[in-house]
């Protein structure tokens, strides 16, 4: 039934890709890269890693073929090798949350109590069509520019308080951010509701929207 040694080699080769997904730091880097390409030190800073540590993890991801690099002058930009990689990371995280209670608990501990109401992607599309919702993208402006939900307003979380007057107060506000592990939309909805606005968040975020093949618009606000 086939050469056992070669079979072991095959599965070990496949497991290299699993190894790449076996570190929390690397999953975090992949989540960041799912929003668009980034330089090494941008990634290190955002993820709170030492520069050499970040570089080492990125090398691991690169050797696994999950990311590719592009040099631009003195700096090197990493990006996901393809949407299948984002899909793999998403499915892994979904299975982790579904099948391991500890993972789901860690998620609520980070995101805060899941007290905020959320919409599905379909519900959001419906309400936008009906004009009963304003959609805001609370990620940093660069990420909005790299791709956002059509018609969404860019209101980075740290500007939300100051720009509250800009938001219409007669319709519901729907906030979204990066994806399943992004805390920004949760915080935004909490802030908005304490200010007496009707606010809900989109389930997950931009990553899942894109993987769902829904329309994406790009360019600055």
């Amino acid at each position: 039934m086939g050469d056992p040694a070669r079979r072991a080699e095959l599965y070990d080769a496949l497991a290299q890709t699993g190894k790449a997904l076996s570190s929390g730091k690397r999953l975090e880097l992949l989540d960041l890269l799912a929003q668009g390409e980034r330089s090494v030190d941008a990634l290190a800073k955002t993820a709170g890693l030492g520069l050499t540590t970040a570089s080492a993890h990125l090398q691991t991801l690169k050797q696994a073929g999950l990311v590719t690099t592009r040099r631009e002058g003195v700096r090197i930009h990493y990006r996901l090798a393809g949407d299948d990689v984002a899909a793999l990371s998403t499915l892994l995280q979904h299975v982790a949350r579904t099948r391991r209670a500890a993972a789901d608990r860690a998620r609520t501990a980070y995101l805060g109590p899941d007290d905020t109401e959320h919409l599905t992607r379909e519900q959001l599309l419906e309400r936008v069509r009906a004009g009963t919702a304003t959609v805001i993208d609370v990620r940093p402006a660069e990420e909005y520019a790299a791709g956002h939900i059509p018609g969404a307003l860019s209101v980075p979380l740290d500007q939300l308080e100051a720009r509250l007057p800009e938001l219409p107060d007669d319709v519901e506000v729907v906030a979204y951010c990066r994806g399943a592990n992004c805390v920004l939309a949760h915080d935004a909805v909490r802030l908005l509701t304490t200010r007496g606005r009707r606010a809900v968040r989109l389930v997950d975020g931009m990553l899942e929207w894109r993987l769902d093949a829904l329309p994406v618009e790009s360019g600055a606000a």
Copy 2:
């Protein structure tokens, strides 16, 4: 932007599931379990592992929530926790093959030169409907019984040579086995063609058929 310590905990918790997928032995066990439940020593024997080693790997998978156990008398049967686990394993392997040439090379080294023609699932369904193909399942009989393509004949590979006369020689024979890494169908097609039969194999195998939500029939031959 959220407590960094809790974020690290979240991603580390998610990475536990990645860790479970970071060993070739464990991927192999998952591939076997995707065909149906198995006892520990059946798995150990099939995968060529020591009993304690197999048990340890299975504990790891269980802690990751990827498999569940069921006791039946003196023996313990492991099974996949759900089809999402099979889908995750499949996607991981697909990404590995697509993104890492080394993994693809290891695959051809194990399966043998990919000289045999193969059909897609749709092509198979078409030909069966048109009556221009006989489908044979070359996995061990127990796996056939646990679920097979409707209308397929159970002809385990080790019986194929002896049962050649049973196969009609006026239509093409389509062989399939477990999945993307299963060598049985490759071997079956090679054997059949050297005997002058027209034989092709189904791309992938039973696992992908089932994940594709195509109809499955169960029960012994």
